[in-house]
Symmetry: C2
Subunit: 124 residues, 2 copies
DNA sequence: CTGGATCCGATTTGATACTG
DNA sequence: CAGTATCAAATCGGATCCAG
């Protein structure tokens, strides 16, 4: 089992390494949306209704730092920032598509009712 | 974006659903080891040195509950328990293999030094 | 509009002890 | 040998506030 280091973190296998780059709840959904279009921060935010401000910014920062997306700032007021996918990000899209299809398979397999449900606000 | 429910949890896309079944730090490494052989609890444990007892049991329980592995108990003392992969688990293997190869690609891309490193015990 | 920082609760995980 | 239970530590994520 090949242990290795990246950014001061120990990894035990390539799967773990890959999942740390594009895994988690939000990175794939974000990349997926940038697949074939340029989006502004607010557009991504609106497109993924359940993501919080904090998560969206932090995940975008990481994706940018690791070269999956580009961040283009227009020096205007109010600020305008566009996100585009990189070549590295496009490679990830291939994998995301495969996982996505696998997920759909699994859902059939598990007989998940895929009808849209009404989510209700969390009770305080 | 299709929201749906499974086991009282809300999912927002098929990727998230798939990753909840076979994602996390340990499930793929566990499945990977059962790919083509039957293993006892202790053998898996020894094969994945960094996993804790608690994580291995909990992850095995989940994989079993969702039909990715079978758990076979031999009523002997001391106890003997074998884990085998199911058809559903084998399907997952194809995906894991793809992610694994992608991870290897990424590592080259990031120029990760893949030489084995000595991990040192955490200081108390 | 975009984004950083802070506080704080929830969830996850590790260490340890105990059992048949 | 395999597994459960418990407690503490660490991590993660949401809500909120401030700023250019």
């Amino acid at each position: 089992m090949p242990d290795f280091l990246y950014n001061s973190k120990v990894y035990y296998n390539p799967v773990e390494f890959a999942m740390d780059r594009i895994g988690g709840t939000w990175k794939m959904p974000i990349l997926w949306r940038l697949k074939d279009k340029v989006l502004r921060y607010g557009e991504i935010k609106r497109d993924i209704p359940h993501i919080t401000h904090k998560m969206l910014t932090s995940q975008l920062r990481e994706l940018e730092a690791e070269g999956f997306v580009n961040r283009v700032v227009y020096p205007v007021v109010p600020p305008k920032v566009e996100y585009t996918i990189t070549a590295r990000g496009k490679k990830a899209i291939t994998i995301i598509e495969i996982i996505r299809n696998y997920g759909l398979d699994l859902m059939k397999d598990f007989e998940v009712p895929s009808e849209k449900i009404k989510t209700q606000k969390k009770l305080k």
